[in-house]
């Protein structure tokens, strides 16, 4: 699927409640929604769009567990094999003293790992130019977008009719 030359018909809503009922309406009429963009997470929107639950937390758990193992095993190796030093009369293998660093590395691995994974999945990396249908979506507008590339004018009119009946405050077409 080419990223270029997509013709998008989108409507802007002023309120998330109106948006949610519009999504319901679109589902009833079997319109294929391309995307919904909102300034903040809207409760109950994901199931309406049929989106699967994110599996990011599973990745987070794995990264965290890796951090735990890395920290604990590394310190164990350093202080018992590689460079044993007696601190304050404690044994070489001083598990309680390893716990704080193990905790920190667990958090670090989990958080950095999840951020990198999330950005990779979303296709966000330095230098990426993102397409904004409308800058106000990052402020106070809620947007439903349909892909209308190569569609008949009558279909576009039908969608415009949908937007006006569901209370969209603005309807535009944009090539992205």
């Amino acid at each position: 699927m080419s990223k270029d030359n997509k013709e998008v018909l989108y409507g802007l809503y002023d309120d998330e409640e109106i948006l949610l009922s519009a999504v319901d309406k679109a589902n009833e009429e079997h319109f294929d929604i391309m995307d919904v963009q909102t300034p903040f997470p809207v409760h109950g929107l994901d199931p309406k769009l049929g989106l699967a639950e994110s599996r990011l937390h599973i990745a987070g758990f794995i990264y965290g567990a890796l951090g735990t193992l890395t920290a604990f095993l590394f310190m164990t190796w350093v202080f018992t094999r590689d460079w044993p030093i007696i601190f304050g009369g404690k044994p070489y293998f001083s598990a309680p003293a390893f716990i704080p660093i193990t905790f920190e590395l667990t958090v670090l691995f989990a958080s950095v790992g999840m951020v990198v994974t999330f950005y990779t999945i979303c296709g966000l990396w330095p230098g990426v130019q993102n397409v904004h249908l409308d800058d106000r979506i990052t402020d106070d507008k809620f947007c439903i977008a349909f892909d209308v590339s190569g569609q008949e004018e009558s279909f576009k009119d039908k969608l415009k009719g949908f937007f006006s009946t569901t209370g969209a405050s603005e309807v535009n077409i944009k090539n992205i």
Partner: protein, 432 residues
Amino acid sequence: MDQFTFASKHKTVLTAFMIVGLVCLGLTFVVDDELHTRFWTNYLHNSVFFTGIAFMALFTLAAFTTALAGWHTLVKRIWEAYSMFLIPGLILMLVVVLGVVGHLHHLYHWTDAAAVEHDPVLSGKSSFLNTGWYSIGTVVIMGIWIYFAWKIRQISLDEDKNGALDFGHHRRLRIWSAAFLPIAGFSSAAIIWQWIMSIDAHWYSTLFAWYTGASWFCASMALTIMLVSFLKRQGYLEKVTQEHLHDLGKYLFAFSIFWTYLWFSQYMLIWYGNVGEETIYFYERIHNYPVLFYGNLLLNFITPFFILMRNDTKRKYGTLVFVSAVVFFGHWWDFFQMIKPGARLTAMEALAHHGGGHGGHGAEAAHHAVDFAMGFTIPGFLELGTMLGFLALFLFVVFNRLEKASLVPKNDPYLPEALHHHVELHGDDAHH
């Protein structure tokens, strides 16, 4: 149903359990050593545990009210009812106070005047660890708690009658709640030092009050989850949904980790510092009470951490209630291991020097292996029976108070928010 009725069936069951508790206490008294250490430690253990749950419920409620929280509105009557247990709690603690004043028990080493005289540590602490502070402290501090509990409940109940979904009553509630928070913070620390930490009279830890407070909080939250689930099964609280349970579960999860954090901080600093006067506390527990010591972490950290980590386990009644039961028992276990080893040492010394004024150091006695003793090394059937008795008493008082008011605070301005509470982005995909 917004109006709770205390069914006579439940009254009978709870009364039966209270009798079981009394019988267990009586049996403990009979099979005990001559100082009745097991009886008195069991009594103190359960009194402190359930009084603390009542106190923490009030503290939680005050914190949520101050923070303008809304989601908890549907369960706040439960916490108001919990806080009313502070009144019987005071009576329970007064028996311990009477024992301190009248030398009826030998729970606290510092009550032994002859021992204190020859002991530089105990005499150095005697300006705080003395009968006057213990008795007046208990009465005054618990008196203040009861006054706040009564006042906060009073305003809340008046809101049902005379409120009008405005913030008039809520503002007054907020003032009382905000005033209670610092008072509760400082006074609970002082009373925890007196009631529990002074059992190991030579020992002290600056973290102990927080750690104990966190234990009370977890127990209070776990009991709340179980009670909410029970009330729902009885057909009450139908407006309380998975969303509210999810938040209660999050509190249980988060504060179990908080408890572990404090437990570990206390342990690690003492381990690292390696000062004999401080390490004695853990030395005694690790060597003579390993089941208590490691069981504590298994029940209160491993179980809630790994089970409640997932999103969906906090939204399923079965799993959440199971974990709550484990954690509730776990924190009862935690108080058991705080109280028993120290009190047992004190009693062993007192029995060894019977009537004598030697007042030997606890440290000397502790380095000898201590034999297995049911009711000290691990909780026995008598301890479990006593706990069920106290739990029944607690629930009896709570149900009695619940009956006096609507379960749903009708005119709370945050009620609509609680009714529309929704925390899960994915909605209702994990019903029951």
